[in-house]
């Protein structure tokens, strides 16, 4: 049986869903459990076709609760495992993921955002920001990557498996329907060939030796009797998260060093922001773009530095203020005015970025402004 899905560097032109399936294979994921939902279903389709060739496994479960919980079962058994979902499926996925958060289970979940609330559209949005970053009845102790093009879908899906197992927090790739369905060029590679670190997986239960005789039994729980007991357990997890955060947080800036108008966006909207900034610069407007690559943990320090030098910060998103609220919290205490451009469930073009920034740029350029 072939074990290495990718040898050498492979140039390809494929959809985001296909890219993700290849990345999971290249990362050494052993199993995917999933439930169909647009726009992620093709991740399962590709995986179901490819997996048997490389001795990997797949199961279509009865719903997303089961997809999540079976994934946790595989993780408990020590296997690298993942699932993928979207929209209403992401809502159901929060239950297993809150268990993963509590018990430090490194499950990897791919989210292909679609319009919401409810069944919304099957197309696109950035409305699953809150749910993915802070869903469940917990504290958002998860890692969330927001890639913005296909090469990053590949790179960060690979990385998600590594980060999840290294730090033992549930880890999300927050994609969207555009990224899922669009075709783009991408280079596929094997992480080992590039010398990239892949954290090893290990079983949490079913470890060698007779429990109670050769070793203590492993007893994993998520229920506590006393307030203090829960507080203590949680404190440990929170400290681990805070310690890891600076190592995990990633961001990207484009011409932001001297920017008077700083556009903040994530995911595909960050592509429009970048292109918009390029056009604005050509027109003599000192615009720049900042993009959090990790939404959890958030790259706060870098954003604050750049924002504090700007005249206006403009948050642009395909949701109604979900990112803006986060940015407001991250920038709390700075005096720079913060504006929002909210297009729930709708894409954003570079022309809109130019138009929106110009509103503020024109105003401040007016003689008596």
């Amino acid at each position: 049986m072939e074990t290495k899905p990718i040898r050498g560097e492979q140039r390809a032109f494929m959809t985001g869903n296909e890219v993700i399936a290849w990345a999971a294979l290249a990362a050494g994921a052993e199993v995917m459990y999933g439930y169909p939902i647009t726009p992620q279903s093709e991740i399962m389709h590709y995986w179901a076709r490819l997996a048997p060739r490389y001795g990997r496994r797949f199961l279509q479960t009865e719903d997303e609760l089961a997809a999540g919980f079976t994934t946790l079962g595989a993780v408990l058994a020590g296997e690298v495992a993942f699932t993928a979902t979207a929209g209403p499926g992401n809502v159901l996925m929060q239950e297993p993921l809150s268990m993963a958060e509590m018990m430090r289970l490194p499950a990897v979940v791919i989210i292909a955002q679609r319009g919401g609330p409810s069944t919304g559209t099957v197309i696109y949005s950035q409305q699953e920001f809150n749910l993915t970053c802070y869903g469940g009845n917990g504290e958002g102790l998860r890692i969330v990557y927001s890639p913005s093009h296909h090469q990053e879908l590949f790179d960060y899906t690979l990385k998600a498996f590594h980060t999840a197992w290294k730090y033992r927090f549930p880890t999300f790739i927050l994609g969207d329907g555009y990224q899922s369905k669009m075709r783009e060029p991408v280079t596929l590679y094997d992480p080992a060939e590039r010398g990239l670190e892949v954290a090893p997986s290990r079983p949490l239960v079913g470890v060698p030796g007779t429990p109670g005789r050769d070793r203590p039994p492993v007893h994993l729980r998520n229920t506590y009797n006393l307030e203090e007991e829960l507080y203590e357990a949680l404190q440990e997890t929170i400290e681990a998260y805070d310690r890891a955060a600076p190592e995990i947080a990633e961001w990207e800036a484009y011409r932001a060093e001297d920017a008077e108008y700083l556009v903040v966006a994530h995911g595909v909207v960050a592509r429009a922001a970048r292109e918009g900034v390029r056009l604005l610069r050509d027109a003599g407007i000192r615009a720049g773009a900042f993009r959090p690559i990790t939404l959890r943990p958030f790259p706060q320090k870098e954003l604050r530095e750049m924002a504090s030098r700007a005249k206006t910060v403009l948050v642009m998103e395909s949701s109604y203020g979900q990112l803006e609220r986060e940015i407001r919290a991250q920038l709390y205490g700075l005096t720079v005015p913060l504006k929002g451009y909210r297009r729930p469930g709708v894409g954003i073009t570079p022309e809109e970025v130019v138009r929106e920034v110009q509103k503020y740029a024109t105003r401040s350029a007016a003689p008596d402004a």
């Binding site: 609760l65 079976t70 079962g73 239960v205 109670g212 994993l220």
Partner: protein, 262 residues
């Protein structure tokens, strides 16, 4: 008569967590004793993973000298189904209440039975949601009073009391093992659990054992009334015995499947 030197607890019971946390007169301890002995007698201690639901079963999270995972209400079965698929050499036991199995986790039970997942499922049927203070469960008997059926369960409103093994048997595959025992018939219950472990280990099949159990706390019954409710009311409504999977019966050309008494 038990021989005098027989240890009171199975070795696999974890002394550090005893006395256990169930109420006096609770049936959970009896079921767990049967399970502990069965696992030991079959020599499976080394490779058994035990998982408990949320419900009074959660109190068993540190009960055994077995690797144990506490899951969510109704979700024990998918956790173990996912685990077993990637580590087939392990023996997995899902321990849950009737609410977890037949209400909030019903879709998982149906799916696991449909897939014939090699998991041994033990459902403790005490006819109520015990942990949350005695509300109606799918298994609550007609006319039985609970916190949410204070005037008794009305069949017209809530439907009849659900019979789990019969449900599972109607969709289980040939080779699957389905039975209903009772904490009032300990030897039989232990035998069912042993067969259920064997079905997983030797046959690679699903095993489903419902254990009729007691909850004096929520039933608000004294010892005599507790036992009477179990043996008179519950045994009558929920027949004890083994249930042949309907798929097997159908393949043999049979029709409906009466319980095979053992």
């Amino acid at each position: 008569m038990l021989p005098a030197r027989l240890p009171q607890m199975p070795e696999v019971w974890r002394l550090e967590s005893k006395p256990h946390k169930f109420c006096p007169g609770c049936g959970h301890g009896i079921v767990l004793k049967c399970l502990g002995e069965a696992v030991e007698e079959l020599g499976l201690v080394d490779r058994t993973v035990f998982a408990c639901d949320i419900g009074c079963s959660l109190l068993a999270w540190d009960f055994f000298n077995l690797d144990t995972v506490q899951t969510h209400h109704g979700r024990t079965l998918p956790v173990l189904a996912g685990l077993k698929r990637v580590r087939p050499e392990l023996v997995v036991v899902a321990y849950m209440g009737d609410g977890g199995a037949y209400a909030i986790g019903a879709q998982h039970l149906v799916a696991s039975a449909g897939r014939d997942d090699p998991v041994t499922v033990i459902v403790v049927n005490n006819t109520v949601y015990a942990m949350t203070g005695g509300q109606m469960a799918p298994t609550t008997l007609p006319e039985e009073k609970t916190e949410t059926t204070p005037y008794g369960r009305r069949v017209e409103e809530n439907g009849p009391s659900l019979r789990g093994p019969e449900l599972v048997a109607s969709i289980a595959s040939p080779g699957a093992y389905v039975a209903r025992g009772s904490v009032a018939r300990v030897r039989q219950l232990k035998g069912f659990i042993k067969k259920g472990l064997r079905a997983q280990v030797e046959g690679g099949h699903l095993a489903f054992i419902e254990a009729l159990s007691t909850c004096p706390t929520n039933w608000r019954t004294n010892a005599r009334e507790t036992w009477r409710f179990l043996e008179e009311k519950m045994h009558k409504h929920f027949p004890l015995g083994e249930y042949a999977p309907a798929q097997a019966v159908r393949e043999e050309g049979g029709g409906a499947q009466p319980p095979r008494k053992s």
